[in-house]
């Protein structure tokens, strides 16, 4: 049998033990809610899974959510091709202390919110301007000195982004963001 030689697609592949392919498939942003046992090491398992398999973490939040504190909910925002997103769900479900995994982006309408504390150093008219902008964004003042404010803002990530951008224009800022928390719309309660 004749060797047909490298195909167009792989013409540039150097000799190697593996096929080199660059994936050109579309990537999408997905929000997961992961219900886990609240035990030591569980967060390390989840994070290790993402770093070890090369998945992206855009944002990650974690907190216990049951009365007895026995379970935690991890919210993860990630980006990947359809196949990678499916893998992420299957890999998370495979972890022993994981109860269940919800791809909120696929499961239906859901609410996604973020909270940020934004400190801005501002004097004179920048002070007044920052208060005016905070008002437009419905941010509240959480702390103040004569040279600064700390604003508390919540809402969709884009809204928080744009508020921070505005504040940057007015003075030096420091930001603490919570990362995304998300929940499905409607009356259905996600079992833990």
């Amino acid at each position: 049998m004749a060797i047909s030689g490298p195909s167009e697609k792989n013409a540039k592949q150097p000799g190697a033990a593996y096929e080199f392919i660059s994936n050109t498939e579309d990537k999408r942003r997905h929000t997961f809610a992961v219900i886990v046992d609240n035990e030591p090491g569980v967060l390390a398992r989840v994070i290790g899974l993402f770093s070890g398999r090369g998945y992206n973490i855009e944002s990650l939040t974690v907190s216990t959510v049951t009365e007895d504190e026995s379970t935690s909910r991890i919210n993860i925002v990630t980006i990947g091709t359809a196949m990678v997103i499916e893998q992420i769900k299957a890999q998370l479900e495979r972890l022993v202390p994981v109860h269940n995994v919800h791809d909120l982006t696929i499961e239906g309408p859901h609410v996604e919110k973020e909270l940020a504390l934004v400190k801005v150093k501002a004097t004179d008219h920048q002070r007044r301007e920052s208060l005016r902008i905070a008002d437009i964004y419905k941010a509240r003042v959480a702390d103040t000195t004569l040279e600064s404010f700390v604003f508390l803002i919540d809402g969709e990530a884009e809204k928080v982004d744009s508020f921070i951008e505005m504040m940057r224009a007015l003075g030096e800022v420091e930001v603490a963001r919570s990362g995304v928390v998300a929940i499905s719309r409607g009356s259905t309660i996600t079992p833990v």
Binding site: M1, I3, S7, E19, P40, G48, V96
Partner: protein
């Protein structure tokens, strides 16, 4: 505390006994001394002292793969645990059920860089199916039983239990509740019936079907192999197996196309490429199998039965995923198949078999046995012919010899073949043979090895002597890391950078030094006699076969190439097997 309280170490031993464990492979050290003390005081469980912790894990793998039971390992903290890491990773990639107990420094010292402390759960998290650090003796019994449940259910894998020394000394009562069910971990074993119906529908309408089965069939147990065999015979479909699946279907059966993949047969790979319906059973579309993914079985509908949802749509998109245990799924599939009056088109199947026979007539594994030196393929073939009546257990190291063993040794039944497929760990074979021999004292157990690989766990020769294990090591000495040399020849302009086996020991003297019998064969005329001498000896034998140094392993699908772009050997192709373009592909 009740009056029946016993020590943590004794709880460990009781739990092992209640799990039916008869052998533990291990190596002592400070952080596990209480457990060794408890071992000393009982006689249900046999401890096998290895010579390196990596050997303990591979031995446990050989034990597990040859019996279907979980293998158990006991090592100390720090270096004991880190030495076990390669074996744990090996078991994870090949889905081998293991429970590995590691000692840890006392809880109050954890995190203090104490003597022989390492973050065992941190280090082993990515190379185990699950792991535990037991900080309270109250949790010890439950954790022990849960670990066995996790290691053996669903897709099997290695589980580590890290036990601080103070927990081993602490006392608690023992309940004896071996039911280790987990509150959340419940793998699905039964298939969705509608999908089985769909699968039967697809297979009934197939004109060019192929069954591609793998290690999952072995994991599922001998019943799965039997059901697969029944189904293949009932349908007259062709079947191919992965390296990990060898033995799941009888190799002598005419419906067997041989192994598929990078070093698979011409007929198996072409059948995969041209099929219209593929049934994948307990295999994971590994990159050694698929070659170029976008050219993999391009015109086929793919059915994938696997117990692990993460194996599905990982590398290749399939049309009909079925999450289930292989045996359960095959049982249902056969039931539904038999209930149908319709049968696949006989004419189409006959034409398909005719095509397959044409591919088969290429005789892709033919080699030229003549010459001054022994051909490695021939050595394996003769080993097979001279031992097949004894239903031997075969382990391997990693390299060309491993591929030749897969190609030329024929396996009629599951659990006879133990090889490091996923991780490709040189040094796996001899300890694995020791583990298999322990589980099967009456069987002939042979490690087919390369002269480079065997040196990676050579110290285990002592273990075989200590426990009077008559394992055979059959070394194909080609004076090269042959697999590396082959790639360098085909791909790096024959610049054999560091792949020559320089300064090898005199293996006959080595055998003698360890108390083994040594055999060396250099003349092709002496091959059969050498093999016979090896198998006739009631004790461990190191048999070194000097083979042709320049032989390459064919067929070969270069990486990044499709199944129909396979390279064949000189017998099929003439000397110039690979042109310049082909070399770029490797």
């Amino acid at each position: 505390m009740s009056t029946d309280a016993i020590s943590g170490a004794e709880i460990v031993i009781k739990a092992l006994a209640d799990q039916g464990v008869d052998v533990v492979f291990g190596y002592p050290g400070g952080a596990v001394l209480p457990i060794y003390d408890a071992l000393f005081k009982q006689n249900h469980i046999r401890h096998i002292l290895v010579r390196h912790e990596q050997g303990a894990v591979h031995a446990a793998e050989g034990y597990a793969r040859s019996t279907g039971k979980p293998g158990v390992v006991l090592v100390t903290s720090g270096p004991g645990a880190t030495n076990a890491v390669t074996g744990l990773t090996d078991a994870l990639l090949d889905s081998i059920p293991l429970v590995c107990l590691t000692g840890q420094v006392p809880t109050h010292l954890i995190g203090n860089d104490a003597f022989q402390e390492c973050d065992t759960t941190g280090i082993t998290r990515p190379c185990t199916k699950h792991n535990y650090l037991v900080k309270r003796v109250d949790d010890l019994e439950k954790t022990m039983h849960e670990a066995f449940y996790v290691a053996t259910s669903g897709r099997p894998g290695p589980v580590v239990i890290d036990i601080p020394k103070d927990v081993q000394f602490a006392s608690h009562d023992y309940q004896g509740k071996t039911n280790g069910h987990h509150k959340t971990y419940r793998p699905q074993v039964k298939a969705d019936h509608a999908r089985i119906e769909e699968a039967v529908e697809l297979l009934m309408n197939a004109k060019k079907p192929v069954i591609y089965a793998g290690g999952g069939v072995i994991n599922s147990g001998p019943a799965a192999s039997q059901l697969l065999t029944d189904f293949v015979r009932m349908t007259n479909f062709p079947v191919t197996l992965t390296l990990m699946g060898l033995g799941a279907f009888p190799a002598q059966d005419p419906q067997f196309l041989g192994m598929l993949g990078m070093h698979g047969t011409y007929e198996a790979n072409w059948a995969m490429h041209d099929c219209d319906v593929m049934l994948c059973l307990g295999a994971r579309f590994d990159d050694r199998i698929t070659g170029r993914v976008d050219a993999f079985a391009p015109n086929s509908k793919k059915i994938h039965i696997d117990i692990d949802p993460s194996s599905i749509n990982k590398n290749v998109r399939v049309d009909l995923p079925i999450v289930a245990d292989a045996a359960h799924a095959m049982e249902d599939l056969i039931k539904v198949w038999k209930s149908k009056h319709k049968k696949p088109s006989e004419a189409a199947l006959a034409a398909w078999w005719k095509q397959i026979e044409e591919w088969r007539s290429k005789d892709c594994l033919a080699y030229d046995p003549e010459g001054e030196t022994i051909k490695p393929q021939h050595a394996i073939k003769r080993l097979y012919e001279l031992t097949k009546d004894r239903d031997p257990l075969i382990t391997t190291e990693v390299g060309q010899h491993q591929m030749w063993a897969a190609q030329y040794f024929q396996f009629e039944k599951p659990n006879r073949w133990m090889t490091s497929g996923g991780l490709g760990t040189m040094g796996y074979g001899m300890p694995a043979a020791i583990g298999a021999q322990l589980a099967h004292p009456e069987k002939l157990v042979i490690d087919i090895a390369g002269e480079a690989s065997i040196l990676m766990n050579i110290q285990e020769m002592s273990t075989a002597v200590q426990y009077r294990l008559p394992v055979k090591v059959f070394v194909l000495n080609n004076q090269y890391m042959g697999m590396v040399r082959q790639w360098q020849e085909l791909l790096h302009g024959s610049r054999y950078s560091e792949s020559y086996s320089e300064a090898l020991p005199d293996f006959l003297k080595l055998a003698e030094a360890y108390g083994w019998k040594g055999v060396r064969v250099t003349d092709p005329a002496d091959l059969d006699a050498g093999i016979q001498e090896m198998i006739d000896h009631d004790g461990p034998v190191f048999c070194e076969i000097a083979v042709d140094q320049s032989e390459n392993c064919y067929p070969m699908i270069p990486s990044g190439a499709a199944h129909n772009e396979m390279l064949l050997g000189p017998v099929q192709e003439g000397e110039e097997a690979i042109d310049e373009k082909g070399k770029v592909l490797v």
